[in-house]
Symmetry: C2
DNA sequence: GTTACCGGGTTGCTTTTTTAACCCAGTAAC
DNA sequence: GTTACTGGGTTAAAAAAGCAACCCGGTAAC
């Protein structure tokens, strides 16, 4: 078991308090309209403490994505024997859809939808999110192997994730429910991964 | 204004958390049946931290009395001009009765009654409470002036406080309400302070 | 009658947090 | 075109808290 003393517990709580304060202020007033000092004050910590937990203002929002950092690489690394990387990635994304995980975009909790809108409509956030995706891509490429082939495949996988998730989110932002969208999301995911496996079929 | 930064606020909260945890555990299981480690764990602080806030286990209970430490001396020191010390003390106690302050014993909140019973029925607590009263007495004597006269008067004042408060508490412990007891408490207080002023009248 | 445990309280060291001051970039005032 | 403010981010020193290990008195086990 990992040692979960007072110190560790309180650190987690502090981190949560900061993140919660940040998200709720951002959702209420918009990213640019909230200063990090406001967040620190709301979370009842000092500004240096805030920055000890989160490197930048953007990370206050994106740590939820950061939690998934390297996930694709991990999925490939931890796949069972006799399972192709693409198969493992496909199954993992599919499982995410089944569970309506926010990363898949297939989640209609108002809070989640508002959160996604916040990210996508705030340039600095969208920009930093891209950086995260590139890191993800690097990690995935590294575990897929050396050479340009692995890099290309990694790039394509991450792109597929991104497009599928944004598509799902867009439909939900348009007012549909996650449950309603789920079937086509699954079909599209299957199609996307099939395309990765076999090419587009264009000559 | 007094500067109330993050540090001061959090220290207060920690102190309150410890004290609250202690009191509620003591009331639930009794003084001896609770270890300071239990209290520290409940308050989510370490044992050394607990002892940085409270010198002894007894003080975890008695800090409420300690908050009134030196109050008698303060009342005398801060009295208006042309007001005799005894008059100031009398008025102050009388005001406490009017407001049903727990120190006067004239308070029937179940929590307060249970708290008093805890103190009076636990020898080590009662003992330490006596120490507090002696400190109070010293402070009062000092402000009343030098000499044996001041010391005697101080001792008598503190004794009066103690007897009046215990009498009030006893009646409430017997099931009467504070409101019901209040009139006689006031009469007795007046009598007690009159006796201090003029002697018992015995020859 | 040792041995071992328990509970109140302490000690030294490390980690975390606060504080106040600062840097730098943008920008509004005049 | 300075001047001054605001906001993101940093630094160094000091306070507070955590941790582990300990002391000491009592008391239960064997």
């Amino acid at each position: 078991m990992e040692p979960v003393g007072l110190r560790a517990r309180k650190k987690l709580r502090t981190r949560d308090a900061i993140a919660d304060a940040a998200i709720s202020l951002f959702l209420a007033r918009g990213f640019e309209q909230v200063s990090v000092s406001d967040i620190a004050a709301t979370a009842e910590v000092s500004k240096p403490t805030l920055f000890r937990y989160f490197a930048t203002k953007e990370d206050l929002v994106l740590h939820r994505f950061a939690d998934h950092n390297g996930e694709a690489a991990r999925v490939v690394r931890d796949r069972g024997p006799d399972i192709a990387p693409l198969t493992a990635l496909h199954r993992h994304f599919r499982a995410g859809l089944d569970r309506f995980e926010p990363v898949t975009g297939l989640n209609d909790h108002p809070e989640v939808v508002a959160f996604h809108r916040l990210v996508f409509t705030t340039p600095s956030l969208a920009g930093r999110l891209t950086q995260y995706l590139l890191d993800d891509e690097d990690a995935l490429a590294a575990v897929l192997g050396p050479g340009i082939g692995a890099r290309l495949q990694a790039a394509q996988v991450i792109a597929v994730h991104r497009v599928l998730a944004r598509t799902n989110w867009q439909r939900i932002a348009d007012g549909r429910t996650a449950h309603d969208v789920q079937p086509e999301a699954i079909v599209e995911a299957d199609q996307a991964f099939a395309q990765l496996r076999h090419g587009t079929g264009d000559s």
